[in-house]
Each structure stands twice: as structure tokens, then as C-alpha cells.
Symmetry: C2
Subunit: 398 residues, 2 copies
């Protein structure tokens, strides 16, 4: 065993997403008809035309020094463009000095965590949760604490408050949410803000809210997504253009620091340092220049809305119980019969791949990632119908 | 103080490179003639024409899915191209299953460290050392241990052996070296390999050698650089195309795992996991496709050789004592008088910026980064001559 014991322990716990990905690959190799793979959040959708045009133009430029290191926080022009776009999106005025360009949202969240926590500090996340969060927190020797969402999968400020101790340094949320597709209500975020404000009184360092927001522009029933920045002053948002521009392979995102937080200049300085010393160094140069010009572009939202409407309508008609998926590209139904592992095995017999809620810290549910072609959705509907028929008369485990 | 205490402690220790960068910016703003800035390793040289052509072509392509996530380890075609190039460069045969594409060398070294060490494990580096190494090791709760180089600044296998304990898990080297410009001798590497092999006997996990090798193609007096892979089987190389293609802002590099190491498939699996969970996720997609086509291209080596020759010749003539700079783009002379801080302050009066050896764990020396235009070199030579005249009669501190 040549590797780190800690990493070996991690590897020994099967990742459901990876397991399903591999089983799907195996099924595809074996042939026997289509595989209806709803397991991965890798959008099968092209970036907006303006992104493609800007990329082609800028990649052909021959300006001297265009591939050199820039300041670790990124190009000032890019940070200004991001700050302007954010200021229009929230009732908060950002400047370039609140923005650190990052290697995707993964880079932004890790930079934010390193900036804020010391070894042994507690980070509260909300179950069900994006599987990487536990690793991200443990990367910086933080203690990962879970608070359940409400049964509607809106945030539960009360459940979070119950988990707050004097070691709590960060609350990490994800809005719109992966895996549920739920958009948190503004009044819920406001209530969370009140709680964090109250618990921060008299502390050396306030509790910070980190909002992981890569699905922020993917909301289907509202003009814009609800805002953590408006709910609480000590807020950092980590995000990327992976989903709103459809370029997850390019690793371009940013960390935004609320100008209303405690000593924002100090947080910015520390985040710049952490972005560098965590080995990200800086966000990719060419992509920084490109995204600066397309801050107001978004992939075709109708492409997603249509799929959301179709799946939500059909699954509801079939009798599935599921939270209202107002954003992102996920649906998180209750597993008929209550056993998510048994249920996804049944779907697999129909060549349909979904991820069990167990993989997100919420057994009894399963996640459908609908960033796929309509054919896959239409082809899988009969399997969803057959599976619920078979399971709905079984004894529920919840 | 809203930030992590650990990060606040780091920030309180001034980074010499950053301090000089800021002083240089200040001098440039104030005007009063040119600033001769040799403090930063940010090459002022364009990438090879074939890189620029490949980038323009590939950025204009409209293949479906070209900006999507790929496997975390990168595109198979890119990893095959890298493996072929590596196999030609070393007497070791690599396949794509030994290559993880990374977010630069910073991403590769952090991925390698996370893959190999547990909290409390010791990592031995060689002084003088690249300033980020301490942060990289401490990111993963490793203990950073220093062993001095020889006075010629070749590696000292004996000094490393003295530092080996039962907690030693990694030896981290950098060849060609930053800050010295020295290329380690093959027989020295071989001797280090013998020592690590001997000390690995009977251990649960062998000691690994990590070779940070971004300057590998920048050698001026030999056909190719000496090889850690040939010296020792349990070797990982982290590198990037930042210097050999002159694209540091783009963050594209790779981690290569020796196929001769203990359980290379297990190390690969763990590195793929760590690359993902450290938040890098994958190396930038477009740049992966581009670098796959230009593995045999290198920036204009003569551009660097000419500067190396000029500076080495002139500094030697002036009476500076310095190791032979066979690679990279650094020269590391002894500070006349022995006090590097006093000496760089004197150079600063002449508007010449260099980094004191103190910043690399080696007081009494200073680093010149010569990836700059000839004008800067010619303009600074009189200052180097004036400064040594003033200091050479002072009492040496060493």
C-alpha cells in the first residue's frame, strides 16, 4: 500500500456516483440498447454563441504577454466585469476588490474554507449535500457537521442553529441545490442570517456563510435566484461558469466576498494568499478574458425548463413524491418503498441510472440529473412508471 | 480579525517576493526612469508559433462537448501524448495510465503530496527552496523538513539522509532548480536513489521522491536534463508547460507516476481522487487539447541561453561568486559582504530588484530571475558592478 492511509480510507468508501458511472460505462460497452444515464451533472448542451465567438477571437489574438501570470486574484478587467454583474444581481455593490477569480467553484470553495477555518473548526453543511463538501472541509482539517434540510428540502435555519457550537466557523449552503433542485426561500435565508448574526455576537470571529452557487442562473420560475448576500453580511459566494455558460471542463469561476462582511480587505488579502498557496495560483488566463465579455450570457434556459417540466409532470402523475425543482438540473424524488438502494437497482434493470440519496447523506431518495437529451428522458419514462408500480405496495421504511 | 489564525500567521511573515513586487510597482508608479526588476519568474517571452496556431485552431472548433467535464485525470489522447514524450525523455516507458493532467505544477505537487502523506508525515525539501513548498506541505498537515544543498548547490544526498526518520514519507526536489539555476548531477540523483531505496526496506510504504520539474526543458549545456525517474523507482514528477511553452497563466501541467513504483495503478487511482477532491477537478479542457499537439515544442532556448551567458560572464568578471547556472532562468550569487538583505537594499538604490536568499531559506545569497528583456540586463550591469565594489571590502558574515 504505497498511498496515504487517509486517502486509502476515502477510496475504500465507494462513491455512488463513480460506481454508477462505471456500471454505466460497462453497460454501454456491453451493448444491448441505450443506457438511460441520469447519474452525472455534465451538461450535454453547447455554450452560448457569444461565448464561442469571444473564445475564437481572443484565442487568435497575439497581444504580448497574454499567457503570462497575472496577479493571483486575476485580471482587474475580469474582476470589474464580475463585480458589475454581481451588483446587478444582488442588492449589494461589489467592486473588483471583492472578487478573486478561481479555478472553478471547487477552487473557490476550497479557497474560502482555507481563508476562514483553522484545524478543528466546525463547518455545518445541509443534508442532502454535494458529496465533495466533506472532502473540501477535511482538506483543511475542519470538522464536517450535517444539519438536515426541511422535508420540503428548503433550508432549515432551526436545524442549523441546533448544530452551532463555539467551534462553528462556517455554514456552507448550496443554492439552487444539488441534489434536490430546490431554491431556498429568501425568508428562510433571512432567518438563517438572523441566527448567524445572533450567534456571532461577542465572538472574536463572526460565523461566515459560504454560498456555493454554480446553479444561480439556472432558475425556471423566477426572475432571479434568492440571495445569501442580501440575507447576511458575513457571506462569501463561490461559483463558476461551468453551468451558466456550459463550460465545466474549463475550470473558470470566482469567489465573491461581501463588501459588508467584517474587514473585507483582510478577507480578500487572505483569499488571494490561499488561492495561490493551495496551488491553484490563478484562474486560467484566456478563460478569464473570455468570461469578462459574456457575464450577461447564459445557456438556453428553455432547454432545461422543458426537461424539468416534462419530468416533474410525469413523475408526479406516476405518483412519485418529490420536492419542487425550481432550479439547477436535478430532481430528488422519494424512493417508492423507502429503500433507495433497492429502488435504483430496480431502475438499473431497466437500464436507467440514477444516484441513491444515500450518496448525498439522505437515504430513501434518489437523484435524477436531467442535463441530458430529450430522447433519454422519453426513453426512461416507462421504466420510472414500471418501477414505481412494482415498489409502491412494498412496506415503506420511513 | 475575520480570517483563519493559521492564515493570519502566514500573512504576518512577509513574503520577500511579494514585498519586492510591491516595491517595484511603487517605484514604477513614481517614475524616475526604468526599474530593473529581476524579482519575478514570469517569462517575458511569447509561446512557440505552433502553440499559438494550435490554440487559434482548436478554440475555433465547434465539436460537440468540447468544454464538458472529461475524466478527472484528463483526456486519454493528451495523456498518451504526454506519456510518449516522457518515454522519449527518460529511460522509462510511460503509458497514459501513469499520467494525471493537472492545474499546473502547483496542482500536480499538491495532488502528489495529498496522495502520499498523512498528517504528521515528514517531507524533506532541499534549501535553498521554492517558497511555496512549505505551504504545499502544510496544506496536507505534513511536517516540512529542510536539508541543505552542497555548497555547489548540487543536491546533497548525505544531508538528506541525515534528515530521514521513520516519519519521512517524501523527499521533494526541484531540478533544474529554482532559485539556483543548478541542474543536479545524474550521479547525485543516483546516490539519492540508493539511499531512499535502502531506507525504504522493511517499511509499510516506501519513501517517495517527488521531482518538481517545470524547468526540465530549460537546460543550456546538455542534450537533456538529468532524470529522477532513472535514479529511483518510487518517483513522481510534477510539472507544467508554464515555462517550456511560456504559458504560466493558463495553468496546464501534469503529474507523472513512475510505472516502476510500488503499485502504480493504486497511486494513479489515489492521485485521480486527490486531483478531484482538492477542488482542481480536472486540468483546463481546451489547453489539454492544445498541449497534446505541441509536446515537442519549446520556447526559444537561445533567448534564455544568451541572457544566461551574458549575466554569468559579467557577474563572474565583476568578482561575484556563483554556482554554475546550467538550467532554469535563475542565477544565485553570494551576496558580497555576506548580508543579503543589506546587499539587495543597495541594489534597490540603483533601481535593481532581486530576491534575498533569506526568502528561500538560504541567507547570504540573492536570486536574479533573468526571464526579462536584454535592455533590463544591460541597464542593470553597472549597478551590479557598483554594488560589489562597495560591498566586497566589508566583513563577510559567512
Amino acid at each position: 500500500m504505497p498511498i496515504s492511509k487517509q486517502v486509502a480510507r476515502y477510496l475504500s468508501k465507494a462513491s455512488w456516483i463513480r460506481k454508477l458511472f462505471e456500471e454505466g460505462q460497462q453497460m454501454k460497452r456491453e451493448g444491448g440498447g441505450p443506457v438511460y444515464d441520469f447519474s452525472i451533472g455534465n451538461p450535454d448542451l453547447e455554450p452560448p454563441a457569444k461565448f464561442a465567438e469571444a473564445l475564437a477571437t481572443m484565442a487568435a489574438e497575439t497581444t504580448h504577454g497574454r499567457h503570462k501570470y497575472m496577479a493571483n486574484v486575476g485580471y482587474p478587467e475580469t474582476r470589474r466585469a464580475v463585480a458589475e454583474s454581481l451588483s446587478a444581481d444582488h442588492d449589494v455593490t461589489f467592486t473588483q476588490d471583492n472578487i478573486v477569480m478561481t479555478v472553478g467553484a471547487g477552487g473557490a470553495i476550497n479557497t474560502a474554507l482555507k481563508t476562514l477555518i483553522d484545524p478543528g473548526d466546525e463547518v455545518i453543511a445541509v443534508a442532502p449535500y454535494f458529496v465533495e463538501y466533506r472532502f473540501y472541509v477535511e482538506n483543511h482539517a475542519g470538522n464536517f457537521v450535517l444539519a438536515n434540510a426541511k422535508s420540503s428540502f428548503d433550508l432549515s435555519p432551526e436545524a442549523i442553529e441546533e448544530k452551532i457550537t463555539d467551534k462553528t466557523q462556517v455554514v456552507l449552503i448550496n443554492n439552487p441545490n444539488n441534489p434536490t433542485g430546490v431554491v431556498y426561500a429568501q425568508k428562510t435565508l433571512d432567518k438563517l442570517g438572523d441566527i448567524l448574526r445572533r450567534h456571532s455576537k461577542g465572538r472574536e470571529r463572526p460565523i461566515f456563510l459560504i454560498d456555493d452557487a454554480p446553479y444561480r442562473k439556472l432558475v425556471y420560475d423566477m426572475d432571479k435566484c434568492t440571495s445569501a448576500f442580501e440575507a447576511y453580511e458575513n457571506t462569501l459566494m463561490g461559483t463558476s461558469h461551468s453551468k451558466d455558460l456550459g463550460i465545466p471542463g474549463e475550470r473558470i469561476g470566482f469567489l465573491a466576498i461581501s463588501p459588508r462582511c467584517a474587514d473585507p480587505a483582510r478577507v480578500f488579502e487572505a483569499a488571494a494568499f490561499c488561492n495561490r498557496t493551495l496551488g491553484y495560483v490563478n484562474a486560467p488566463a484566456l478563460m478569464q478574458r473570455v468570461v469578462a465579455t459574456v457575464q450577461n450570457e447564459t445557456i438556453d434556459l428553455d432547454w432545461y425548463r422543458r426537461k424539468r417540466d416534462r419530468l416533474y409532470g410525469e413523475l408526479t402523475r406516476m405518483g412519485y413524491s418529490l420536492p419542487y425543482p425550481a432550479g439547477a438540473f436535478y430532481i430528488f424524488p422519494k424512493a417508492p418503498g423507502g429503500d433507495d438502494i433497492a429502488f435504483i437497482e430496480k431502475l438499473k434493470e431497466h437500464r436507467v441510472l440514477v444516484v441513491p440519496g444515500t450518496g448525498f447523506g439522505m437515504p430513501g431518495y434518489f437523484r435524477i440529473s436531467y442535463c441530458v437529451n430529450d430522447d433519454l428522458i422519453e426513453g426512461a419514462l416507462p421504466a420510472f412508471e414500471a418501477a414505481i408500480k412494482e415498489f409502491k405496495n412494498r412496506a415503506p421504511s420511513t
